[in-house]
Subunit: 251 residues, 2 copies
DNA sequence: CGTTCAATTGACTATCGTCAACTGGCGTGG
DNA sequence: CCACGCCAGTTGACGATAGTCAATTGAACG
């Protein structure tokens, strides 16, 4: 995906931005770079001086404990700015890792901050993006604290699917989601054994398929009910088009 | 606490704001109001048109599931703006509840937003505040996912203590924290029975006392180690003065 | 073909939840 | 003044969910 498409799709999904504003973002002194699967693009404890705009591929954010256990905090795909928070809190309290090989545009903090001052519409939309990031964290907290593993897993799938649908990364009932079961487990706060068994439950119930790096939703309404999924917290501008009220996508 | 003190202490703890800027915040058309213990000040699903600045008392944010189970997402005290996110994502994805009786100043969105545009220093600091909010959520996710109940509880106490210390709400090794064990359980994602037993462990290990609405830290260094607590994620301007490198506060 | 890494399975253990009973303080009202 | 109820805290017994350990399968890749 190219820069313009990534920016436009992302910002269209959560707000409105004029052509002029998109052009201003593009005119920032971006440096395009690449990362290989597993690379720690930004490390916990470091001080960031630029933000990453993900053009192609998948990334995730994680915290690692002294005993080596790991918690994944978020999954990211094309159009996301996974470390936007570093603009105003530059000391990284977690790491940003390439889930797959990816292409990235680096946006230096200073001109970006200056742009948010010069163009409040851009500033507000970026702020809003960072607030949606936080809303997703809150929802994860609630799911981790109060839902059993299978429901939580169903919720992670619902969220990933809706977020990707919002930026055009879903093809029918299928979306690329190149995660290992261990990464899924690290996101859910589970052991990989238990994540595997939870996946089997969703599979046996014919709600989803998850293999070959793809997530396939077989029964949206039951998946959503199982997860008690309500997309309000994603603060999307348009209601996802496989929403309850609309026909289920072709399977 | 009065408005000026609340604002100044809070913003001093996370950044710098000129006298002029504080005056501009104070000159907003604020409406002071009050809430009683248990009041749902802002409800999930509603659309907010103003933000709450907490002047006195304690509040928390929570999500409630269909089966009635509840997850507390954050605790707040004087100086906090618990629903600052509503400025750019006005549809509430969770509720804001008065933990105790409290005094609140309501800040209407429109003039506040206008002020953030007119004064980028204020806008940036508020944005930063909302990013710290998100950093706290991330840390909660990590603790919930990867730490046993007792360690997690220890972490919640460390965090509350440091955050309160940063705005002058700690007296020696003691801070007011008027939570029931059930609220603590709802924040940790535990049953109240298990929260009770975890508390006993910390008490028996002589790390903290938690009764009468007060949290007393008896052994900071062991509490911190138990929780693997690292205050970086709070992005405070000044290092807390009972930090590892410094002497433990008088007990 | 070996090697490697992800997925899968079984057996056992540990952490945590549920249910139910009981305590103790505290305020209210007879 | 005391009886009562209420609510937070506490305890024991038991069950459910999830973790650990270890072995095996299977696909991808050189």
């Amino acid at each position: 995906m190219n820069l313009t498409d990534a920016l436009r799709r992302k910002f269209d999904s959560i707000g409105e931005l004029s052509e002029k504003a998109v052009a201003e973002l593009e005119s920032l002194p971006l440096v395009e770079t690449a990362a290989r699967r597993g690379d720690e693009v930004v490390s916990e404890g470091s001080r960031a001086t630029s933000c990453c705009l993900l053009l192609e591929g998948y990334m995730h954010r994680e915290k690692v404990f002294l005993n080596g256990s790991r918690q994944i905090l978020a999954f990211h795909f094309a159009g996301d700015i996974p470390d936007l928070q570093s603009l105003h809190t530059p000391t990284m309290d977690h790491s940003l890792v390439a889930t797959t090989d990816c292409r990235i545009a680096l946006i230096p903090h200073e001109p970006l901050k200056e742009l948010t001052h010069r163009s409040p519409a851009i500033g507000d939309l970026l702020w809003r993006d960072s607030l949606i990031d936080a809303a997703i964290f809150r929802t994860w907290i609630a799911m981790m604290g109060r839902k059993p593993a299978v429901d939580h897993l169903a919720h992670v799938f619902c969220e990933a699917f809706v977020r990707m649908a919002a930026v055009g990364l879903v093809d029918g009932n299928r979306a690329r989601l190149p995660l290992t079961q261990e990464q899924l487990a690290d996101a859910l706060g589970l052991s990989s054994v238990h994540a595997n068994r939870s996946l089997q439950e969703l599979r046996d119930a014919a709600l989803v398929r998850f293999d070959g790096g793809y997530l396939t939703v077989l029964d949206w309404s039951h998946l959503r009910d199982r997860a008690e999924f309500n997309p309000t917290y994603l603060h999307l501008r348009h209601r996802p088009d496989f929403d309850p009220e609309r026909p289920i996508p072709p399977s």
